[in-house]
Symmetry: D2
Subunit: 345 residues, 4 copies
């Protein structure tokens, strides 16, 4: 059994990693750390886990953590990971970091939207953990920058079409809608029940930090600068993310071309489900799963391609993809521990 | 007191009209009709109304209705209104129809998306009841085609900018999100609680009937054909509609130009609230009110204008605008009966 | 116009008072105070109020407040009101306090559940503002202890039956369910969206501070000690409170006796609606209103009376009843400003 | 692999059985029947199941079903099961029926609340499938009457205490709150989104059909007639059930007695979790699991015992318990296929 630890286990992403790993047949959870709940049993923080996880949350120290675990998931706010990752990598731990700290190739872009980067030399080493796109690199990686939830939902449908040069990249608009768990467990008025319930709004319009993350990946894939328009919205539900993408196709493309491009690109990918013509995703259909469902509408009369994708922001958008990355890094079957049957509702 | 009747009073739009009129100081509710609840007290169908509305739902007959009321609100599914409106107009009743039957100038467009129109001669007479845009015509109208909820939310921000030629009309994308009451009270699996709760999805992608309605108005205002891309989504909440609009501005426009255009256009309009720079609407802030809140983001780097509007789909998007139309038609103050204070949550 | 101020205007109860008073025809809102938002416009805190309320939140000082207002609503956490009320009363202001500080006649009970009472001499002066029960005293009051939301929902149905000696007071069980706004606007994990949504739980079981409040009123009404079992629960919705009461009736009572007792007791009370046999309240039917709906089931076979009441916890359970108290104190019609038509949904 | 079929697979309980069985290591799903969706792929009815379940819904016929499956789950409305069960039992199929048809020992009680029973001779054979209470009988059963959701939530905490004679059975009040999925997938105004959302109400007060079901089991366990007061309520959430039980304990009982009684009774039962003193269940903590969490409060001053239990109405309250019954009947480990890790939210 591979020994795995979760650093920052009591936030929503961390707890979701704990959920998945507690059912994972090839790994053993050996250490959970938490800044806020040090010394408290994990199942007191999440009583659903009573009888399932028996660990006490501990304070993080590199020394102690490295004795206890061979793989590290980091579910801390950005800035904290880059302070501890270099030492973990140095001690040959495999690291999957869910923050933005190791997602960018270009440190200046990170620094423009976050803060000074203090472990720049690792950016080259780190692999962007968008599993279906970078699986080969991930298999050999020691450090993963696990993608943001919004980028995951937008890049999975866009990248294959971009690579085939089906899209006019000047025209990409990404309108995303996320459940509230994406904002985490930290208290804020914007996630206070009565402020969210019966409420719908956009936020960080064209200013969200996932925008440069998407732009960098798309630019690398397209081989030229791409800068998309991105607006996230908050949906009064706990889990789920729907992304609606608008883009002008290049002239000669038909529905079959789009559909075939995606299905062939993702033919060996069990977590990507392309909807048949006339069907579209619903966040409820991927809730609690690692699936990304994609639906396509080609509006020929207006020469507009509309793509809709749905993921569970905490699973494929965070913890599930992180475990998928671990599986790839460890040479396990990609789906191990991630195929719990979807709920009908 | 002006005598007013509501035809189709027990659907959500009809009941919302009843709510507003029961507080209206200048009119008296004299007759409510319902196909499904004939003979049943209105407050048995809507127990919230116990002690407030004392009427029994009746079957509709032109003769009887015309004896009892001078103004008719029609909240029936499309097709039914065009069967009864000609006779009501003939008897000099003022009619506000909430269906699509009298929204189009061009009958062929209506017929392409609905069915054969059997009262085409009234399309010329009818006025599209988008109050802030067509107020002068409305004041003299005898028949109003009350706008759809999606068109109201999109046209109010677009029309002033279009008239000033600030927008590249080839690039308009309208991404709307609606609360569930917009689907009405008729039972359907798509509005069954467990299918909607914790669910988010798009529907009728680029095929919604409000698309040609918006296109016709925008084309008339622009003086040339406009055809927008429109995708509606369903939000797990009862009331509220948020519309996010993406459009390329024409080159020389700055934020101030946009902002000033809207504020000056709507300077005498108490129901339109333009958010200051950096602030954006939230459906919760207009819930239960007749307001339309509008926020603007000009992303100069990407040359993209993003406009967000919020309305209550049942009020400004249906019943509230209908009463506002009535007020204009009757020469009353436009806001009469529509200024109940907004709820903080 | 009577000049009214709200102390603690930016919590949910305070903001709801502002909503109601902004529509009230006989009073003028002249001052709003807030500890957290001093110097900030009220409509920045609650953007729904843009164009409706034009005041800036101010710091509270007795001197300044008394210059500006003749009536004071206090919507502060308990303990703070008793520090400022004596001076307000001394200056002949009429005061309606929404905290628990002036609800108890017996200071020792207050002190057992809250803290040392520093204004005990005013407890005699203060009137418990359960409007329909104490209306005569309220008319002459200068200081109101506005009832808690749970007590309002339980006492309104119980008091008339208790006075008629219909109930075996040893057997009263009160099982209440409240919307989340009852917990206020202060951030807490227990009101964080993802912790509440899709969640239902009991809390403070048989230990809630509203228990002794109900016990004191019931004991005074019964003329002997009454101690009920009370369990509150949290419902994943913003507004509304449903209370289910279980009690053994004394032997000779039939449904008609119960029904007639309540309808005759509340015959002149516009806000109390007794449901006919076989019908029961729903929080949705009182949402946003000052109504208390009451339904009755007499299970003769098991000799058990079951009473269900529904209120909006922020209106009849807080701000609405507070304004009703003000109306009574000022000699206005009891319903002034409180009869906005209920929403159908 | 044991071949299993689900009769009535497209209702919520049926679909939940499909979910669980699709992950079950010892059985193979071989046939799904549906009256409404005959001929349609199961994953078209529940798109979440795309790539997981590959079956087409079929019409039920005894002959064909018996060829295809050795175990039958029946998730049909009551009355239909008793028409097909005799033949299934005759052909030596093992049957778990989720309706009320085989829950009662006394046919007259069934007939008083449902309709004429047409397979009375099987009532003796059938075992009431409350797993933790009747496990020995279940192991040898060929026909299970799977308990109702409300009875499961109330009986699990009550039975052990009743058997120890800790409870004054004359005083039992059961106040239950259920998520909306309990009402099934059949369309009704009472489960229409806008009628449920932001709504809370009681229904079938002291008249629910689960009342006699609970009474019969409790009477058998107590060895004397027991008749409880039971009121169910509807919570605006999809899944979950919380039951609050009020009962007078017999005099000499303390908290430790109650706690020890439950923990020792359920010592070998992995799905029953007794909360330590001062902690209480939350439906969110059992969502999607087969757990029943139980919390206890002994209010000595008022001599009242308050018990709170939480289950997922579709899992422990229906499909999960049904599979647990199958496991017991087949000699499998009781927990097989039922230990998916709980979600943190």
């Amino acid at each position: 059994m591979i020994r795995v630890g979760v650093i920052g286990a009591t936030g929503y992403s961390g707890a979701e990693i704990v959920r998945i790993l507690s059912d994972h047949p090839s790994v053993e959870l050996t250490i959970l750390t938490s800044r806020q709940y040090t010394g408290i049993r994990f199942d007191e923080v999440y009583p659903s886990m009573t009888g399932v996880v028996d660990l006490v949350c501990e304070e993080f120290s590199t020394e102690y953590f490295c004795e206890r675990a061979d793989v590290a998931f980091i579910a801390l706010p950005h800035k904290l990971p880059m302070e501890i990752v270099p030492e973990l990598v140095h001690r040959q731990k495999k690291v999957i970091d869910l923050s933005a700290d190791f997602r960018f190739k270009d440190a200046s872009k990170y620094e423009a939207f976050y803060q000074t980067h203090t472990a720049k030399d690792l950016l080259e080493t780190a692999v962007y953990g968008l599993c279906e796109i970078y699986s080969e690199k991930i298999k050999n990686a020691v450090l993963i920058g696990n993608p943001g939830c919004y980028p995951t939902s937008a890049l999975l449908p866009l990248v294959p079409l971009l690579k085939r040069e089906f899209l006019d990249v000047e025209t990409i608009v990404v309108d995303s809608k996320s459940g509230v768990s994406g904002a985490g467990r930290t208290l804020a008025l914007t996630t206070h029940f009565c402020e969210v319930n019966e409420s719908f709004r956009a936020y960080k319009i064209a200013e969200h930090r996932h925008n440069p993350e998407m732009d960098e990946v798309l630019s690398l894939q397209a081989g030229k600068p791409v800068s998309i328009t991105f607006v996230p919205h908050l949906v009064p539900m706990s889990r789920g993310m729907l992304t609606t993408i608008y883009v002008k196709p290049l002239k000669t493309v038909g529905f079959e071309d789009i559909y075939n491009c995606l299905t062939s690109f993702y033919s060996g990918c069990p977590f990507i489900r392309i909807c048949p013509e006339g069907r579209f995703p619903n966040t409820l259909h991927v809730r609690g799963t690692n699936y990304c469902d994609i639906g396509i509408k080609l509006d020929a009369a207006r020469n507009r391609l509309i793509i809709v994708s749905a993921i569970d922001n905490l699973v494929k958008g965070a913890a599930g993809q992180a475990v998928q990355n671990m599986n790839l890094m460890l040479g396990l079957e990609e789906t191990t521990g991630l195929l719990n049957a979807p709920f009908p509702l």
